[in-house]
Subunit: 411 residues, 2 copies
């Protein structure tokens, strides 16, 4: 058997752990084949830059590098996609099949039996379309999806690899920001803009800080609930009556209907409206309408690449998703995505690794549950803490070299 | 003897280690007094919110809390100013002395023998002025300055406590950003805006990444050298010929003469020019004039409060500065600032703790040496690496509680 594995979409701190997992599954399967006395061999290749790179036949033999256990270990702790990534959607089969033909040709030429695609809901669209098309063509090539996204917005899985590490980064940084913004005697407002265009999971997770006795963030604004600038200003004004330092967590995905220019996405002459996010916009509103000290912080790509504060639970789960994917392919499955199911009856956090049809996750968005949002729409209920808390447990310490983190890179 | 210690200016990851150091010096002095059979007692108080809080007589007994060794240990790892801070300048003595009278009154009422002020060049102005005024009045109260600033712009010391941790945060985050921004096949420009309004030390320190084999940042722009948007665009265009992903480190303090609107600080209708920094401005320039994928990242207050990646060397030095300050006061000195001198002849990094007149550091700015900047003004020479490298050695792991860092706070 010959495996090929690719990564797609935005980087995370855990996506390379899934890559390592698929590699380890291949090595496990080799051991099983040898133990069974099977003459079958297994090999594993990496595809550079996702399905776009696959079209160009960019394959490398992973064993050349990852057979070194030190490199494999370092890969698991390295952020972003070591194989490179792409943002690419396959056309609907039936409209233009030439791309599918090319992919089949590349896969056949390289005698690939199974393709693993690590990614989010766009990538699951690729898994669903390609596996369906290959089956229709009578090709035995299997396509398996491995979930990944810091946004946690994939349906069909309790949560996604990459999310826990993003939350852990967020909690670490937010707790430090809380110390920083409370040192002065003057009243101040701090607005932290958090990733999540369509779903507010990451922003909502800041409710976890309460578990460590923090009062902040005093408000949490999500795309899942109505949000107006007027309500925001009223909330902040009210909070300033009792708190010296007011902190708000705002999802980049909120879209206040009473912020015409911001919503329009129009550029002013210097393009600031286009470039600046909701945090800067709200900062300006506080400055103009309330007039107190105000600061906005955009946590930017650090949310998805801060492997130095990765969640050990997250990295282990990401790796196990990769391993599960390998065995799914070995057992002949195709068009499925690995899924994590949480045992609702277990006293301790307990995850079962299973699979769902990739088509079910493709292009869908799992939003943050309404029942975990307060009626005012500006805060997350305590009930959500139990969901988030297990995902950030356990520390991962980066391998340091000269006082700086050391990362894995393919040559 | 009664000590009072205060913190001032912007927070850092190491300023609480200096506070702990002064406390430890007091405990050391107590042991010495007891061993000597002296009847003298020593007590130590914390002043909330710097000299502004001192005017209001906001003193707390530090021993009530810090006699718990667990709390003292946690304090050293906690970012920002645990005693709170202020941005406050004393009027020139001779113009308005009422404030000095109030301070003397508060110090006398609390029977304080020595005031320790942990801060940057503004704080050293306070140390110099107050100590001079007290001496003139015949008061025996000593005033000792303890250096602190992530900007490293204090004269009279090899470097400042807080700087090493800021550099270590920067190296950690930059190395992760480098992984993140190189995953796609398309050409891209990433602009990282780094703190340092008057001096480029922090931005310059990104040359350290070279030590770990990184090619980026491809350009480093400092306030110390001429910087124009035209040159920036020309640099980037040139680099894009050979690099897929071009990364620039830009000091927030650069002031391109050919960026009229940006320099003017004027607000457009929505105030974006005022709110946005040089990073966003340059991002827009690349977007309009070069047209490739571009992103700017503002590392914001995370640069000064990220204690979870503090430099162990930095925290130890900050603590020793505090200890040295305590003994300076005990030995009767006043109006001095603790200074770190690097032994230029030592094979290994070696620091001696000494002191200089606070007036020498007050209101002065130590800029990044011109001889470490390339003639083009867009890169830092390898010679600077040896200066920066020892400052980031050693890791500090935060005390975790529920998967999040635990911090010290005065009740």
């Amino acid at each position: 058997m010959r495996f090929a594995v690719a990564q797609s979409g935005g980087p995370t701190a855990a996506i390379n752990a899934s890559l390592a997992g698929v590699y380890e599954a291949a090595m496990d399967i080799r051991r099983k084949l040898e133990a069974d006395g099977s003459p079958e061999k297994i090999e594993i290749f990496g595809v550079m830059h996702g399905v776009q790179g696959l079209l160009d036949g960019k394959l490398i033999n992973l064993e050349d590098t990852l057979s070194d256990p030190m490199k494999l270990a370092l890969l698991k702790k390295t952020p972003a996609s070591a194989l490179g990534s792409c943002r690419f959607r396959l056309p609907a089969p039936g409209t233009d099949e030439s791309m599918y033909e090319t992919l089949l040709d590349v896969l056949n030429r390289n005698r690939i039996d199974a393709l693993f695609y690590i990614g989010g809901n766009d990538s699951m669209d690729t898994v669903a379309k390609l596996s369906e098309w290959l089956t229709k063509k009578g090709s035995p090539i299997r396509v398996i999806g491995v979930p990944k996204t810091i946004d946690n917005d994939l349906v069909g899985t309790d949560h996604t690899p990459g999310f826990g590490s993003a939350v852990k980064y967020l909690m670490t940084t937010m707790s430090e920001i809380l110390r920083d913004c409370s040192v002065y005697q003057v009243q101040s407002v701090t607005i932290v803009e958090i990733m999540g265009r369509d779903a507010g999971w990451l922003t909502a997770s800041t409710c976890l800080l309460r578990r460590n006795g923090e009062q902040a963030p005093h408000f949490i604004y999500l795309p899942e609930s109505e949000f107006t600038v007027a309500q925001f200003l009223s909330d902040v004004r009210e909070a300033l009556k009792t708190h010296r330092s007011v902190v708000c967590a705002v999802s980049e995905g909120v879209s206040p209907p009473d912020a015409a220019l911001f919503r329009s996405g129009e550029n002013d002459e210097f393009g600031h409206a286009y470039l600046s996010g909701i945090g800067k916009y709200l900062e300006k509103q506080v400055q103009q309408r309330i007039g107190c000290k105000v600061r906005s912080v955009e946590l930017n790509i650090m949310q998805r690449c801060s492997a130095h504060v990765a969640s050990y639970t997250d990295l282990l789960e990401a790796e196990r998703c990769g391993i599960h994917a390998g065995w799914l392919a070995y057992s002949g499955q195709s068009g499925v995505m690995v899924s994590m199911q949480r045992n609702p009856d277990a006293y301790n956090y307990e995850i079962t690794f299973t699979e769902i049809p990739a088509a079910e996750a493709a292009n869908q968005i799992k939003t943050f549950p309404k029942e975990w949002i307060t009626p005012e729409g500006n805060q997350v209920r305590d009930a959500a803490i139990g969901y988030f808390l297990p995902l950030i447990q356990g520390e991962v310490y980066p391998d340091m070299r000269n006082g700086m983190p050391s990362h894995f890179q393919f040559e």
